[in-house]
């Protein structure tokens, strides 16, 4: 558990921490500019706490005060009950994973040597550290053959994976992550986020995570702390609550549009009766497609997995991948109401495709059938029966 108690950081005093932190949070080096104002916050053990806010809200300063890269002006920060100010600074930092935006890999060391850094600092012998590093390299989804490459030979996404592996190498209970996925393109970012969640579900670290991206905050956080400019905590809540019940105009504005729709991400898909959908296999003939008697026909692959809709009139000879409509999304029976509704809305036939956890088609559902489930949830929530944050992760 990381605990902030009345923590304030004012720049312009004698010990103003690193220049980097200052320029990011200080607002042009104003004398006495307050970066973080009397922050009291708890990041619970084994959970992801996300700090989010606009530029100049002090989120990075807050994070960097935990491992004393920046010294607080007043207040105390304790990690698992120990006041960080009383600890040896090197020991404190070696006990926390630290991941930063541009990975910050050491260019003169190979990937595996980078990952071995903290264990080596802690005096673990070389062979043991190397074995552990190789294990982590695979764990973060990198090919073991990359271990002998240098950072300059990796893509941005791969470098960021190495950064995460390096932070995990000494198996620290606490991880500090400063916009780790901000510098990669959106597709890679989503993969990294998903794998990060998978990893966290296995490891259960206490994580403090900084981002400026509210969607990332809502996706990753078990709880989200929204900070406003000047380093004041505006709201601390689970993501579902943040979307459903922003505490003021600032939070509402920052959380953004489509809140009602996005909040459905946190509502587990209820048991709905799905309609059986007639399907054709890839490679089916035009006659087979027309025999279904519907303008849009769902095609499935060999394992019974839905691969896409095909317009019956467009099939001349047989169903090929080229003919598939690409717009439809597939919801999962264990997914969220949002995914269910999105599947229905994005389907060219109006029938949303639902697959089981094994990827096989279970059935379809229309938007009109999803909406009553949403309405039912609203009634239940108002009555206070459905717990907030009924997360679908």
């Amino acid at each position: 558990m990381i605990r902030f108690e009345g923590v304030t950081k004012r720049y312009g005093d004698a010990d103003s921490g690193s220049a980097d932190g200052g320029s990011r949070a200080g607002g042009g080096g104003d004398q006495g500019a307050v970066a973080v104002d009397n922050l009291t916050l708890e990041a619970p053990t084994g959970q992801i706490t996300v700090l989010v806010g606009p530029s100049g809200c002090g989120k990075t300063t807050t994070l960097r005060m935990v491992n004393r890269m920046i010294t607080p002006t007043s207040g105390t920060i304790s990690v698992n009950g120990r006041d960080t100010a009383s600890m040896d600074v090197a020991e404190l930092r070696r006990g926390m994973g630290y991941v930063i935006q541009h990975a910050g890999l050491f260019p003169h060391r190979t990937v595996v040597d980078n990952v071995m850094t903290v264990p080596r600092l802690l005096g673990v012998d070389k062979r043991q550290a190397r074995a552990r590093a190789m294990e982590l390299i695979e764990r973060v989804g990198l090919d073991p053959a990359m271990a002998r490459r240098y950072p300059a030979q990796l893509s941005g996404g791969q470098q960021q994976r190495v950064g995460v592996a390096r932070a995990l190498a000494a198996d620290p209970p606490v991880m500090l992550m400063d916009e780790p996925f901000s510098a990669v393109d959106p597709v890679v970012r989503e993969q990294l986020q998903n794998e990060f969640l998978r990893l966290q579900s296995e490891l259960g670290k206490t994580i403090l995570f900084v981002t400026h991206d509210i969607d990332e905050a809502v996706k990753l956080g078990d709880q989200v702390a929204v900070l406003r400019v000047g380093g004041v905590l505006a709201q601390l809540a689970p993501p579902a609550t943040l979307l459903a019940d922003p505490v003021d105009d600032f939070v509402a504005g920052f959380v953004g549009r489509d809140r009602g729709y996005r909040a459905l991400s946190f509502a587990a898909a209820p048991e709905l009766s799905l309609t059986d959908e007639p399907t054709v296999r890839l490679g089916a003939t035009a006659e087979q497609v027309r025999a279904v008697g519907s303008p849009w026909v769902l095609a499935v692959g060999d394992a019974g997995e839905p691969v896409g809709w095909v317009r019956a009139a467009a099939v001349d000879h047989e169903v090929t991948r080229d003919l598939l409509h690409r717009g439809g999304t597939v919801a999962s029976t264990s997914g969220s109401l949002r995914a269910l509704l999105d599947a229905a809305l994005s389907s060219p036939s109006g029938r949303g495709v639902v697959a089981g956890d094994d990827g096989r088609l279970v059935g379809t559902i229309t938007a009109a059938e999803v909406v009553p489930a949403i309405e039912a949830r609203r009634t239940a929530t108002t009555a206070g029966e459905v717990p907030e944050g009924a997360s679908t992760r």
């Binding site: 890269m69 600074v89 070696r94 630290y98 050491f106 600092l121 240098y150 997914g335 679908t392």
Partner: protein
């Protein structure tokens, strides 16, 4: 003067033995150079590392560079006049010569080391500190290795300058290859002067080649970028490069399940 006379000078057995023979002059020249560089490095490495690491007293580097403008020969006579009377041996001339050469060597060494450390990726430095390296560990394990290419080019340029300028030691009656130039000038033996110049030039080139080899050996392939080329050509040979990276390949929309 023809190539033949130069050839004759070099092949004359008299040039290859005794106190004014080429081997001895070469050894003296190398000794001045080595002593100068060792002292220069002893000054420049700690100073450059400290300035680069802390970012304080940057004007020292600028100031040192300004000193390059001082004429070496004039400085040599000036230092000799002050130091000479204080010392009662050959050192009376050796010390001033070394002082002048050190003053010449320090600026490129210092700028090289300082600029090398200055250019280290701030993210790498931040990560190093954040992972719990002490200041000394950040310096020795991250900053100095990353600063190596620029530091070594500083060393190369200092070495060239010292080898070339060490010839002036002869003007205060010391040895080294400069003797051929000074003596040749005094006796109007131009062949000797040309041959002395050739020796200095060849020595400088050989030293530079050796340092280039050292650079190749000492600098991490991750920084010099050599391994990048090697790995690319290797992977393209096995067809690995043309295959899309499975880790980073985007998933198709129809198979993605948007759960959030």
């Amino acid at each position: 003067m023809s190539p033949a006379t130069i050839w004759a000078w070099f092949t004359d057995p008299a040039q290859w033995s005794g106190a004014d023979g080429i081997p001895n002059r070469l050894a003296e020249h190398l000794a001045y150079t080595a002593i100068t560089l060792v002292i220069g490095l002893l000054i420049a490495i700690p100073l450059g590392a400290w300035v680069g690491h802390t970012g304080r007293l940057r004007w020292l580097v600028t100031g040192a560079n300004a000193m390059r403008a001082v004429p070496s020969l004039g400085l040599l006579f000036a230092v000799s006049m002050f130091v000479g009377p204080l010392i009662q041996s050959d050192l009376a001339f050796v010390i001033p010569s070394i002082v002048v050469l050190v003053l010449l060597a320090v600026p490129p060494l210092l700028s090289g080391i300082y600029a090398g450390i200055e250019s280290v990726d701030p993210a790498a430095r931040d990560a190093a500190r954040g992972m719990g390296m002490t200041g000394w560990q950040v310096l020795t394990r991250v900053e100095l290795p990353c600063a190596l290419p620029l530091s070594l080019s500083g060393l190369r340029s200092a070495t060239l300058q010292v080898i070339a300028t060490a010839t002036i030691a002869a003007s205060v009656s010391l040895g080294g290859l400069g003797r051929y130039l000074i003596d040749g000038l005094a006796s109007r033996d131009y062949v000797q002067m040309v041959c002395g110049s050739i020796l200095v030039a060849v020595l400088a080139l050989v030293a530079d080649l050796l340092l280039a080899a050292l650079e190749r050996y000492a600098v991490s392939p991750g920084i010099s970028g050599r391994s990048v080329g090697v790995a690319r050509s290797r992977s393209s040979r096995t067809g690995e490069a043309s295959r899309p990276d499975p880790v980073e390949a985007p998933r198709s929309i129809s198979t993605a399940s948007p759960t959030t």
